[in-house]
Amino acid sequence: MNNPRQHQSLILRVTGYFLLPLLILFSLFMLLRGHNEPGGGFIGGLVAAAAIVLYMIFSDVKAARRLVAVDPRDLLGWGLAIAILSGLPGLFLGQPFMTSQWMELDVPMFGMLKVGTPLLFDIGVYLVVIGTVLTILLTLAEAED
């Protein structure tokens, strides 16, 4: 494949540009929906990574790297760090590791919002999953070129 763009379908490219933001939004929705309902950081991260991989297929690897802006390996490290940090607050309150800490926020228009350390953990997982999948797939795609 000297010029991958020749083999591309126009349909894929057009729908791809629409799908990319939708999928990213959907992945955030999955991330926030998690904990009590089906969803969470893992599945959300997979959806987000799939969105970026889709983008990679209808443009190219370099464009996909530009889209992510940071190196996937950084996402991996920071995600893991955030996930570990989310377990620590309980320790300072004399509770075991990973004990959930909750607080209620009064958000205008939404009403009461309950946020806590499990969300932080999920965000960490979200980043780790995106980082892992993209590290693997982008490396493979580059090796193919």
Binding site: R73, G77, A81, I84, L91, Q95, P96
Partner: protein, 502 residues
């Protein structure tokens, strides 16, 4: 519950995990990664020793992750066996980290050597400290994923060949392990090991329970490198960097052995069952096949790999005989073996640094050129073969004495013969590598790179530990004895985790 104690159990898992995250964040800087690696493994070793002292003084320590009460949440449990294993992980981890400074190339470091190493240590420690059978599976996977990547780091042809066998057999084993956990959950409705032990105690004769126990035996048997499904080990362990080989040789199979000790003392205590007979047979065959395999090899690290297998046989023999003395022997053997085996691999790397080959036929005259390397090799080698007063003698002595007391004469005979053959194998390495003249037309050459001092330092430290375990065998025996009595007292474990309900 006491907050400080909970942290003691957590740190051996949290430190390597945090180190993995940090070194991933700093992946652009070699210097930072190296610094983090040495500091984290040092911290890990200190934390592990603190935990062991705490468990020795105050009994089994338990932490309820996320403050969920047992048996509903995941518990971390540190009993003496777990704590000893964590200390050994700390020692091996620190030795590997320091040795890596001198031996791991820039390219390997660039592809994430240090984060993977920390992840491996986190997985190993997690497996030693968890009190939940499904969580054990998860830690096994963390460890395996990291080990897959470490094994092929560098991407040489031999590494890929070895990795295919390694990955395939370990995935088969994982699948069996997972099926067994699923069936167990279907039978008992719980995953907490203490709760399982209590619920299954009256139903040990139930055929379904025995089938599940058999699945665990096969799954952990593969991971431990026991006969008959051991061939992934000699196919792969000689292919990665020496520091990686050493870490694998010291720790990975021992996680399988640990899991066997845990499951077959706590959840399915070995009585006069079929499984015990099988395990006895496996122990004998593992010893014999491993040592015979080694006799046919002429590659330094392959010989050592086959000896890992044969040594696993002694540990299994300790478990399978299932008398208090035998368990003491098994635990003692694990302590001795991890240090000796890691060290022998590190020495093979040192010889490679000096002469540029692992092939016994290409090597020679190391003793004439560097007598001190010869001495350093002899300490762990003779210990492995079981010569007094080194640590291996006491390990073998206790296990064999237990065999004599239990009147398993054939197993005792096998163990003695295998000891002799191990000595033969070590003498072969000595004669070929250290004693004979450098062969004419040898392609071997000196590998000029800095840091040989660090390598020698690591080897000396581990060799001194081997001597120390031999000289101070009595306190180590006491520790192993306390461990064995904990292992043979499931109610003690159950009460520690679930609270006293008698």
């Amino acid at each position: 519950m006491n907050h400080g104690m909970a942290l003691d159990i957590l740190l051996p898992i949290l430190i390597p995990l945090a180190a993995a995250a940090l070194s991933l964040i700093c992946w652009r800087s070699r210097a930072l990664q190296r610094g983090i690696s040495v500091m984290a493994t040092t911290g890990l070793m200190v934390a592990a020793v603190v935990l062991l002292v705490r468990v020795y003084d105050n009994g089994i320590q338990v932490m309820y992750t996320g403050n969920w009460p047992a048996p509903f949440g995941i518990v971390l449990v540190a009993d003496l066996l777990g704590a000893i294993m964590v200390v050994l992980t700390g020692i091996t981890g620190l030795a590997t980290a320091i040795y890596s400074l001198a031996t791991i190339s820039k390219a390997h470091e660039h592809y994430g050597y240090y984060p993977l190493m920390h992840l491996l240590l986190a997985g190993v420690n997690g497996a030693f400290l968890t009190g939940d059978i499904f969580n054990l599976y998860v830690w096994f996977e963390v460890m395996l994923v990291a080990s897959f990547a470490l094994l092929i780091l560098g991407g040489e042809r031999a590494q890929m060949e070895g990795a295919i066998k390694y990955v395939t057999l370990n995935l088969v084993s994982s699948a069996m392990f997972l099926s067994a956990v699923g069936l167990l959950y279907g039978l008992a409705g719980t995953l907490n090991m203490a709760d399982l032990a209590e619920k299954l105690a009256p139903h040990q004769d139930n055929p379904m329970v025995q089938i599940v126990a058999m699945l665990f035996l096969v799954a952990f048997g593969i991971k431990a490198g026991a006969f008959p499904l051991f061939f992934w080990l000699p196919a792969s362990y000689h292919t990665p960097r020496v520091a990686v080989s050493s870490l694998f040789a010291g720790l990975l199979t021992k996680v399988g052995v640990y899991a066997l000790f845990r499951v077959f003392t706590l959840i399915f205590p070995l009585g006069d069952s079929l499984i015990r007979d099988l395990l006895l047979g496996m122990a004998g065959a593992t010893m014999l096949v491993g040592v015979l395999g080694a006799a046919a090899q002429f590659e330094f690290r392959r010989i050592l790999s086959f000896h890992i297998i044969s040594q696993i046989g002694y540990m299994l023999m300790g478990l399978a005989l299932f008398t208090p003395l035998a368990i003491i022997g098994g635990v003692f053997y694990i302590m001795h073996h991890i240090i000796v085996k890691s060290n022998l691999f590190l020495i093979s790397g040192l010889v490679y640094r000096l002469q540029g080959s692992y092939d016994l036929k290409q090597l020679g005259g190391v003793y004439r050129q560097h007598p001190w390397v010869g001495i350093l090799f002899l300490i762990p080698a003779l210990s492995l073969a079981g010569l007094p007063p080194l640590s291996g003698f006491f390990g073998k002595f206790i296990v064999i004495k237990a065999g004599v007391e239990a009147e398993f004469w054939w197993l005792v005979a096998v163990a003695l013969v295998v000891g002799l053959l191990t000595l033969y194998s070590m003498i072969k390495i000595w004669a070929e590598v250290f004693w004979k003249e450098m062969p004419e037309g040898s392609t071997a050459s000196v590998q000029q790179r800095g840091g040989t001092g660090l390598m020698v330092g690591t080897v000396v430290a581990l060799a001194s530990l081997t001597v120390l375990i031999g000289v101070a065998a009595e306190p180590v025996y006491q520790l192993a004895s306390a461990t064995a009595s904990q292992l043979l007292d499931p109610p003690g474990y159950i009460n520690a985790v679930l609270g006293d309900r008698s």
